[in-house]
Symmetry: D2
Subunit: 353 residues, 4 copies
């Protein structure tokens, strides 16, 4: 490969944006054409994120926003914007752009504009483009991603939930009810200056939030329907942990019947094993439940299961780094697939711990 692909980043100064910059910086076939941030325009990235190490002589600085010329040069654009802003941004740039788009925000995940309105409380302003975006849950939609030009990267909670459920839903295992209890580090909420996220409110604390309906529920139910070919409503409850990064999701599925044989590693066990055996970024750990620390700083999702035959409950536990497999890491994984690179390129880093 002679020339590197050129990438533009919009909203580069949030937690997700900086992770994306760090990953792309280490990617063999990509160079960052620009990173835009209103807040930090004209400042060097390494000034805002001192742990970011500029490579070589080229110092990366944030621009305020890309010009038409900037946009003309890039091959792929990553959007790291808050709800409502991705569609606003795309509406404002002229339609004749040739670059591919990976949206890490939430605007193009829900395909039904009614669902969008229900969960986000407002009308979608680019309804006709919704169907053009493939839901970027890599391990499930790899084929579609390969053929697409526009990706709606999944929310962090849905990644942990849907990867946990995919093997049984795609294999028609019958589930009667699904209860999901997710726990997230505080970086999931972004870098907002909010009294709630002060150190003294988070340290030595733990709590549930959005208990009557978190927005990610819509995304989870849409994809469950796509996988199971039927509607299943799920009870989803997010919690905040006194940690910076990571999501630990516990999924409780009421099954018709679970036997001792199942528990000892029968059918369900094999379904998971087969489903993920060729996937470089999902590791099924059997009945050894993964720990959150095992994936922090990596693009891995680890999944373990328990089968409680007393109550006929299948318990699925999944862990991810919310900023990597739950956001920037999976975005690059999707880009790799879309552009024909090795799926693991740029993502082979080990965890910190």
């Amino acid at each position: 490969m002679k020339e590197k692909i050129k990438a533009g980043i919009i909203g580069g100064s949030g937690f997700t944006g900086i992770e994306l910059i760090k990953i792309l910086d280490g990617h063999k076939y990509v160079e960052i054409a620009f990173a835009a941030s209103r807040t930090y325009k004209n400042l060097k990235v390494s000034k805002i994120f001192p742990s970011y190490k500029d490579k070589g002589n080229k110092k990366l600085s944030f621009i305020e926003k890309p010009t038409a010329e900037d946009l003309g040069k890039i091959d792929v654009m990553f959007l790291c914007l808050p709800p409502l802003e991705s569609m606003e941004f795309l509406k404002n740039i002229s339609g004749r752009n040739k670059f591919r788009i990976i949206d890490l925000g939430s605007d193009f995940r829900l395909k039904n504009p009614e669902d969008y309105k229900y969960w986000y409380g407002t009308e979608h302003i680019l309804k006709n483009r919704l169907s053009g975006f493939v839901y970027g849950l890599t391990e499930v939609n790899k084929k579609k991603i390969k053929e697409s030009s526009y990706i709606a990267n999944p929310g962090c909670y849905p990644v942990s939930v849907l990867l946990g459920l995919a093997p049984i839903l795609k294999n028609n295992v019958k589930i009667e009810d699904i209860y999901i209890d997710s726990k997230s580090g505080v970086s999931g909420a972004g870098r907002k200056l909010n009294k709630e996220y002060l150190f003294s409110n988070i340290d030595n604390n733990f709590y549930a939030y959005s208990t009557t309906g978190h927005r990610h529920t819509g995304e989870i139910e849409q994809e469950i329907e796509n996988m199971a070919k039927k509607k299943i409503k799920v009870s989803f409850t997010p919690h905040l942990m006194p940690m910076e990064r990571g999501i630990f999701t516990s999924i409780y599925c009421r099954m018709g019947k679970l036997t001792e044989e199942d528990a000892a590693g029968g059918k369900i066990f094999k379904i998971f094993e087969n489903f993920y055996k060729e996937m470089p970024f999902v590791s099924f750990t059997g009945n050894k439940i993964p720990k959150l620390k095992d994936v922090l700083g990596t693009n891995m999702c680890m999944i373990g299961i328990s089968q409680d035959i007393r109550t006929h409950t299948l318990k699925i536990f999944s862990v991810i780094d919310n900023l990597l497999k739950g956001a920037a890491g999976q975005a690059v994984q999707n880009m790799n697939i879309m552009l024909g690179f090795d799926e693991e390129e740029g993502l082979k880093f080990n965890g910190m711990f």
Copy 2:
């Protein structure tokens, strides 16, 4: 009141024991006759726990074990021993003791010896005394506790679970399924020297354990049956948080039907409110979900609920300090009731945060 009640403590050097010593030390009507600890015999309590402040001139030291004479002098004995050791201890001291007993261990909680064998994997060695111990969930069994001489203090997880469920079970609200997801600080595991509890294994980590059947499940189901007058099996899953203290329990109940009216604060809301309105140590916070930090360092249990009418799920969230309301605090609360003191005596301290 002329003379103070005399209390003996067996197993005083664990997390629970030291909390008990600290509480009794500030109790108007109690004095500590002895605190026994094999590990720290003959050492001053303030040497082992520097944050413990000896009162006046009397310096409290641990003894190895009480003599018959020691036992003859006390009015109440607190047992803070690991599984199997409380019954061993009681078997070894002669039966003719006049003191009351509050067992903070797990040996006398399950009333059916078969259940004991199932959950603890061994025969109970004092089966005939099981029925003599009242299950010390104060808010539910207050009347029985008042009339008893022997209390089996509940496990920490069961306290958080059963106080959350009691109002609806005692009021015959129909529940179809119960999924319990509990999160505990690491002090719940005691002061064991175990690689798993090293700082580097807990910090920045989170995980589930005993996922196919934690022992506390037996206790939870026994008391659910006592309250609901029918057997209900529950799926219970404990998790470990990177914190020292506290339990946050999320309970998901599948209800036949929940209406908008329910969600807005209908019947169920009032049931909780009424159930706890006279209880000094349980606070129902309505649909404002309590945070764990609100109860750390106190004897309070705080409970909030959410009603998700999309999935007909009643969500109950309850928080306690595992060492206080989940252990030593409730033990003293039970003692107060048993001995006719003010229920709040010695327990009026505020939280640290």
Copy 3:
């Protein structure tokens, strides 16, 4: 004692104010007449601080500010206000008030208006009242406190530093140089909404600040001069720890000469022992260096020393809970002495850990 002393609190909703409310609430001889807070006026204290447990039927609510009638009823006023606001407040209320004042802020600590201007960058507006306030470092100024009506409660860092140095300064031990390295939890900075105090900026982090001259240096040097009867300039450097509470101070003193005899527990050792042997809230631990956790949640200061004869350095380590011995606890200790109560009344609580 028939009637309780009445206390008023101004600025009750900061970290210090709420600690003060909690302590006074458990004080035998004091009742809170009012707690004023502009931010939370008319809100119940237990609503803002859920871990605060209202006593009995009386629910304490914040008022906006006290009326003249309110002021007429109190016996003692606690000021918990930011720099410049205590003097502003006292200037605005008429001078004919009979109550005593304990100022937990910084306005009346420095006695020389020039020093005040140097360290706070502005003119003092009540210069004539400066000398009326006794510097409330209890263990050093107990006699003066007993006879005074106005107390300037010391800053949190100075408490940890000055209690560490007092024994040798008051005993004329010759010191050539003093280097002070203090580490504080984040509550020392108050409850400000500042990007710097977000969880993600503090967790897993550690740093120095105000490295060329923290305001507390002025207070430290003033009191060193009062104790040593000569001027000694000190190098003082504060650091921020990823914790909510507590101060750990390391003091390095260059001594003319230290011998093996000194190190083994000679003269200096005895000086410390004697100085603090009658003090209920300072504990000298010899050459066993105290740990911060030992004092969290208590009004204790613990001090340990090391004597490095290789470099003739006396190392003094002192730990306090910055909100208790470093603020609200010592304020109540001073009130007890000023009003003739038992010095320990209301302050006998044990640590949380």
Copy 4:
């Protein structure tokens, strides 16, 4: 370059060993021939460290110890062993080995056997090989490292201290006294199963240790002498922080005289700037004091200074990741220089935060 260099690792299962494995795994010109660990022999590395991601089809497993044949094949050996064990190991393998050695342990750092005996309390058993090992403080000894075959990699504290002092010592700036206050995360103590390192003893805690003479003092004074060409004794005090990784070192130097001009960025400022301007892994941040988090997960050392003209104190603050620049990262940096690779190869990773 046709063939990759082959590296052997002895003691691969400690914190340092696993970091080394992760770095070498991403190194273009190195492959790991074996990693030896008595504790985990025959177990896969990814089983012990789940965050380690095996590359390609080759799964790395720990061997118990290398055979003569294993030793015959390697080009470089990394020793990650506790005190006394490196020299024991080297004594036991035959002398005719052609590979280079980088010892991350402490056995070959002190050049004078008397110093070794003083600080380690025992005779050195390979005295004649001491002078053959170059002290691997890369930025100071780069030239010697290039020409050597044996490297004694510095201790973690000394790295942070000596890089902070090197610019002024090598430029003959006159210093009268040096006081060093270092704070380390708990991984510095290794993975020992010790009650002291339990989560409940470290969390919410902070303390000093080895206050009368930490072993690293010997190493620090030896290298100060090498740089300053004269003996200077330093007072060094290590502290433990409630964190897993990182070292924050505060150095206080008493200077003859500091002027306003100095403080504003005069001579000393320029000395630091010049000294490190060509060094890829040390960043001088002027009078902006670096935060620990800025370097966690990187091989960087960041250094900031403050000049307090009131007390004529030069304050130097330096931060490193103790397991990277303080151990495994610098070891690979030294290997790169010794073997003629690009100094940054394998070390360009960004921080986690």
